[in-house]
Amino acid sequence: MINYIIRRLLLLIPVFIGVSILAFALLRLIPGDPAKSMLGNKATEAQLQSLRAELKLNDPLPVQYASYMKDVIKGDLGKSIKSHDSVIKEISTRLPATIELSLFALIIAIVIGVLAGIISAAKRSSWFDHLSMTGALFGVSMPIFWLGLMMIWLFSVTLHWLPPSGRLSVGTHLQTITNFYLVDSILTGNWFAFKDSLAHILMPGFALGTIPMAIIARMTRSSMLEVLNQDFIRTANAKGLAKYLVIFKHALKNAFLPVLTVIGFQFGFLLGGAVLTETIFSWPGVGRYVYQSILSRDYPVVQSTILIIAVMFVLINLITDILYKYFDPRIRYD
């Protein structure tokens, strides 16, 4: 097992190199000039040239790539062209915001999705099954921006139940440690801020969680149905085990493997795909930041953030693989 983990971690190296080359090359294939986008159309040619020289944009691409990677290996992810701040500082508040939102969305998606899937499978063709599967169909096809705007309109503008956007209300103060606001407010014992940030994360969390929730529900249902038809379940039923025990203890564990795969994948997508949710709910996360950075050709920011997300994606997959072993002890990694 340890060997396996080490092997997988070593695999990170080629992934790292591959992703960095891809990100580097793709960015430079997009027409546009970082110097121009930074100085705007007010800059003189002399200013543009001196900035290009300062950013070493005139060097041949392989030279640029080599010097970038040298810095990355030293732990220096570069400086944002636009803000002059280091990329690490820039994403130190934004990445936790995105991870917090994605985790929250995923928890909602798993809890509701798995439960709905199980009940639908157990009570196949019941009204609940039809309702939840129709709901799931809507869920996967729901445009997030529309759903998000409707939620704000209903819960904030009309009902005044929830704050429309952001991470904290104006006037709520929170001493940040990890930049995960829910965690920070617990660490500092600031319950007001905890409630406030929880109120803020609910709508974007649900909006972002809708699609994974629907996918998880459908996957759980079909996987459960397959397992419920197997002999050992019939045996369990025949020997008179309580139905919930049969379902949760015997069936769910065997049906969970494909669901776990989907969850692992979805988390990766959530991390990279929160752009729309972050935009609608003014969530100061990394998705929106990368999107803006692509538009302004902020090369170092985009390259480094893609690298970080790629590494996280690989790690999440590794964790998923390790979890497989828990759900199916027959799996061997040696």
Partner: protein, 548 residues
């Protein structure tokens, strides 16, 4: 086995509880938000120097500031904030682009227009407690000549690699409260330029103290003091109680980033912000129907236009063709795409500027006349041209793609086939400055409220250089050049007005552009505040805003 499945099950239960608690928490927190004061004061208000109050201006906008050092930025979102923190030597009047004293109480210029002497206000302090004086002014101007990063300095004063000072040869403090500028050539717009927010005077002590991080720790003399900046989220300022000008009524100003126009408007409706810009046109009616909201239009300081590339061999080089295109475009129809915020343009500068020539008669929409002119030019059978356009809306062109398509339809009537080439903004700028286009949609927002800033920047041959052109029509007219240069060294505003009017006439006849529209961007604000006068230059200090 048994133990493990309990783990899974209890995890599910815990997660479920979490969600239930979450819903409860949402209700509780919301009692604070529900009472419509934009800033709910919190009991858990720890470790903060200020407390929020009812007198908080919360301004919702689409994007965050880039840097809070105005000398290094060109984006309006940065300037909007720094305009609250810094003062310039002179400021624009509230209602127009004429200048009035600010950090300087009075000034005089030598007869040859090369030496400007400013007397400074006494007893003014920076927000960090240090003294504002002539040395501070000199320090700032010297600082701006040290790097090409100081974009506006280089751009407004003509700095180059070999001459980082541009036209300002020397700045000296003749005594504690007097600064003398010596220019290499007379520059008529100089005073107007000094009123621009990028030339806000920063505390030399703070600049030295923070070094590379100064842009995150701005210190000026302005009506509001910087508190904090959460990137992509909010910037918080508080009132400068010792401000030398009008002390603000608002205790706090918060700039919040709310990227989506629709969501931002809903925040305004919900009362969590009290001012916003960047409204969707379809929301205008909702503001009118809402008793708590009002619309304020910003006076126009821009022009949206279609530039025709006169340097390209072929039809576009022909004046008659360009005039014909002017006649073939129905501006009245194009105005429908502006949804009530556009005014038909006939000159390359907006009517809010002095020197605007209102006697010019615009080309009237006339397809037959256009066809006749095209035939005279030898293009009776028509031709094919490309039209470059940007994908994203600009202040002077809210729907660039639809505008391009409408023009495509209109020109079809005179047998001109238009191929639309769409690019994102940066690419669009690069391509058009290189001259890749036959025609291109473009626009300009003025900087200092001087006609020179439109006519010289956009239509003088000095600025028609490929690769960095402001003049993307690549229009080169020697007479225009001579007149514009003369206006730059004439100090008398009356004479300059005459020159600019004449220039507008020549440009009208040569028709390098189809001027399309001047826009008056709408802002929606809550009726709880009054005294807000949006300025044509795009931003204004908030110290005049009153709470009811």
């Amino acid at each position: 086995m048994k133990r493990k499945s309990y783990v899974v099950f209890s995890m599910l239960i815990i997660s479920l509880l979490f969600v239930i608690v979450g819903c409860g928490g949402g209700d509780a927190a919301n009692q604070d938000n529900g009472n419509n004061t934009a800033a709910g004061d919190s009991s858990a208000n720890k470790g903060s120097s200020d407390s929020s109050s009812d007198k908080t201006i919360i301004f919702g906008r689409g994007a965050d500031s880039v840097q809070l050092d105005p000398s290094k930025v060109t984006d309006g979102e940065s300037i909007y904030v720094t305009n609250q923190i810094y003062d310039t030597l002179v400021r624009y009047k509230q209602e127009n682009t004429e200048v009035q004293p600010a950090l300087a109480t009075d000034w005089k210029t030598s007869d040859d227009g090369k030496v400007w002497t400013f007397h400074l206000k006494k007893d003014v302090k920076f927000h960090d407690g240090t003294d504002f004086n002539a040395d501070a002014v000199v320090y700032n101007f010297k600082r701006w000549t040290t790097s090409a990063d100081f974009v506006y300095y280089g751009y407004m004063f003509g700095a180059s690699k070999d001459n980082m000072k541009g036209i300002i040869q020397n700045v000296e403090a003749t005594d504690d409260d007097t600064v003398k500028f010596t220019l290499s050539e007379p520059n008529a717009p100089f005073l107007q330029t000094l009123a621009m927010p990028p030339f806000g005077i920063a505390s030399p002590t703070a600049v030295k103290k923070y070094g590379d991080d100064y842009f995150k720790n701005p210190v000026g003399t302005g009506p509001f003091v910087f508190d904090s900046w959460d990137k992509d989220d909010k910037i918080v300022l508080h009132k400068n109680k010792d401000y030398f000008g009008q002390v603000a009524d608002a205790d706090q100003v918060i700039f919040r980033v709310i990227p989506d126009n629709g969501a931002r408007f809903m925040e305004l409706q919900a009362g969590t912000i009290n001012m916003m810009d960047g409204m969707n046109p379809e929301d205008m009616q909702k503001v009118k129907d809402d008793n708590n909201l009002q619309i304020v239009n910003r006076p126009s300081m821009n022009v949206g236009y279609m530039a025709m590339n006169t340097s390209k061999k072929g039809p576009m080089a022909n004046t008659k063709v360009r005039q014909a295109i002017n006649m073939a475009i129905d501006k009245k129809k194009l105005m429908t795409l502006y949804q009530g915020i556009g005014q038909e343009a006939k000159n390359p500068m907006p009517p809010s500027l002095w020197g605007y020539n209102d006697e010019i008669k615009d080309y009237s929409y006339n397809v037959d006349q256009a066809k006749k002119l095209l035939a005279e030019a030898g293009y009776g059978k028509g031709f094919t041209m490309n039209l470059y356009t940007m994908t994203n809306p600009r202040p002077y062109m809210p729907q660039p793609k639809l505008t391009a398509e409408a023009i495509q339809q209109m020109l079809k009537d005179v047998n001109i086939k238009v191929n639309i080439v769409e690019n994102d903004w940066d690419t669009h700028l690069t391509k058009t400055e290189e001259g890749a286009h036959d025609a291109a949609l473009m626009g300009w927002t003025g900087d200092n409220g001087d006609p020179d800033n439109f006519l010289y920047v956009l239509l003088d041959k000095d600025n028609a250089k490929k690769g960095s052109a402001g003049n993307i029509a690549f229009y080169k007219n020697d007479q225009v050049h001579k007149l514009l240069k003369k206006a730059q060294i004439t100090m008398d505003q009356g004479t300059r007005t005459d020159i600019y009017k004449q220039v507008q006439e020549i440009i009208h006849d040569d028709a390098p552009w189809v001027p399309i529209a001047y826009t008056t961007p709408p802002m929606a604000i809550s009726k709880t505040i009054s005294g807000y006068v949006p300025h044509a230059t795009g931003s204004e200090p908030f110290n005049y805003i009153k709470f009811k």
